[in-house]
Each structure stands twice: as structure tokens, then as C-alpha cells.
Amino acid sequence: MSETDVAVHGHGALMEESPYAIPSRKLTMWLFIISDAVTFGAFLFAYGYIRVSAASWERPFESSSVINVIIMTVVLITSSLTMLGAVDASKVGDKAKAMRFLYSTAALGALFAALHLREWFELFGRNITLSSGLFGQTFFTITGLHLLHVISGVIAILVVGSKYSSGSLTPGHVESTGLYWHFVDLVWMFVVPLVYLTNIVH
């Protein structure tokens, strides 16, 4: 087909079926997630090498911190479950239920952030900060990046939820937000064992 034909008839005849059979918005979110996964991967690999090769390493987490991180993890995994409910309810057009699930997810995300900050302030009280050594530098960098993602996710859920509720966004937007939220949960599954569980006081 010549360029003239394309100009006259449009691209329709030339377009093949999408190899992924998903909307472009969802594919874009997947590509963002992959690039973000590589970013976190770089931080976690760097941490892993430093952690294993360092001659001495601070182990600041006592049982109270472990209990805190257990609650944080349960909260975050539960928020993924409520997000699944929100995406499903929005797909079948049950706006009220989707909003309930979205607000539950945002509340759980906010609770996670609050618990995370409590952990941080507890460490600050023991003079463990971003500038106090290798542990502080790596811990606050990695958990700070993750916390930034959680806070961004909570804001995104509230914004998308309110716009979906008013009818200006579609269930597809809720689904893309859900993908992002599950990714935040997934990253935490690597952060906890590497950054918290290898640094427990024995």
C-alpha cells in the first residue's frame, strides 16, 4: 500500500492484531514497571554485594522491629488483595464496591507508610541515619525509594478512584493503577528479606 493509499484510507488496513492483546495503557504500565524493577534491582544488587563483602555490619533490628515489619508486610499483601477486588468490581461496573475496595487499599497503604515512618524515627532515636555509615546509607536509600513509591501509589489510588467515581476515568485506569500497586507489593518482598531480615540482632 502506497503512502497515498495510507493517507486516503488510513492505517486501518495495515494494522495487525496487537501481539499482546492488551490496551496500550496497560502495556505502557508494564514497561514502566519493568524499568522500575531494574532500578530497584540495581539498588538491591548493590546492597547485596556491600552487605556480603563488608567486614563489619550493623545489625540494629530487635524483636520489636521484626514485629513491626511483620505487620507492615501483612498490611501490604492484604492491600494487594483489596486492590484485586477493586479492579474486578470496576470491570463489572460496580462503582460503589470498587470505591470501597480502593479506599481500603489506600488506607492500608497509608497505614504501611505510617508504620514505616515509625520504624525510621525509632532508628533516628538510636543515631542511625543516612549519614551514620554503610547500613544507614543503604537502608534509608532503599526503604526511602520504596516508601516514595507507596506514598505515590496511595495518592494515585485516591486520584484515580475519585475520577473513576465521577466517570472521567475508566475501569482500565483502575486496572493500570492496580498493576502499579501490586508491583510496589512485589518489590517489598525483596526489600524485607534483604534489608530487614539479614540485619536482625541474634
Partner: protein, 103 residues
């Protein structure tokens, strides 16, 4: 199927995955209190984290239900990039200890 029953079903459908993720996490917590060497503990915990992430990707992010092309495009490339990072991270550790490349 009504709208209300559908969103209830999806929670029930993924509840086993949720409990498996929690179980893997509690195994990780248990192992972290055992006296493993740091390197061994990191590897064991990483393997368990990969299991959790795989479950999250396949079921929570629905990659198992998408066309196989999507999985084959995204995941092998990501794993390849992450593995290639090890080339220069390991070199950075060598530089840290000021060891010549030949050793």
C-alpha cells in the same frame, strides 16, 4: 453473574495465593533467626523472594492470564538485565578491596 458476587469471588479465588505469600514470608522470618552464614542466608531469602514475586506476577498481576507473548517479552529481558548488572557490581567490590584484576 451479578456485579457484587463477582468481586467477592475474585477475593476467594486469590485467597490461597495470599496465604501462600504470607506463609513464605513467615518462613523467611523463621530462617532469619537461624544461624546461617550471611551469604547463605541472603541466597536462601532471595530464592524465597523470587518464589513470592513469581506468584505475585502470575496471579496478582494476572500475567498467567495474559497472552504468553507478554510474559516472554517482559520477563526474560528483565532477568537478563538484572543478571548483567552483576558484571560491574562484582567489579566494584574488587576495586573496594584494591585487588588487581588478574587475581
Amino acid at each position: 453473574m451479578s456485579a457484587a458476587s463477582s468481586s467477592g469471588n475474585v477475593i476467594k479465588k486469590y485467597l490461597p495465593v495470599y496465604f501462600v505469600l504470607l506463609a513464605i514470608f513467615f518462613v523467611e522470618v523463621f530462617l532469619s533467626f537461624q544461624h546461617f552464614a550471611t551469604g547463605s542466608l541472603v541466597i536462601i531469602l532471595l530464592l524465597l523472594a523470587v518464589c513470592s514475586a513469581t506468584l505475585g506476577l502470575l496471579y496478582f498481576m494476572h500475567l498467567a492470564e495474559e497472552r504468553r507473548n507478554l510474559l516472554l517479552t517482559l520477563i526474560p529481558v528483565t532477568i537478563f538485565v538484572l543478571l548483567m548488572m552483576n558484571m560491574f557490581w562484582s567489579d566494584s567490590v574488587r576495586l573496594l578491596h584494591m585487588r588487581p584484576g588478574a587475581q
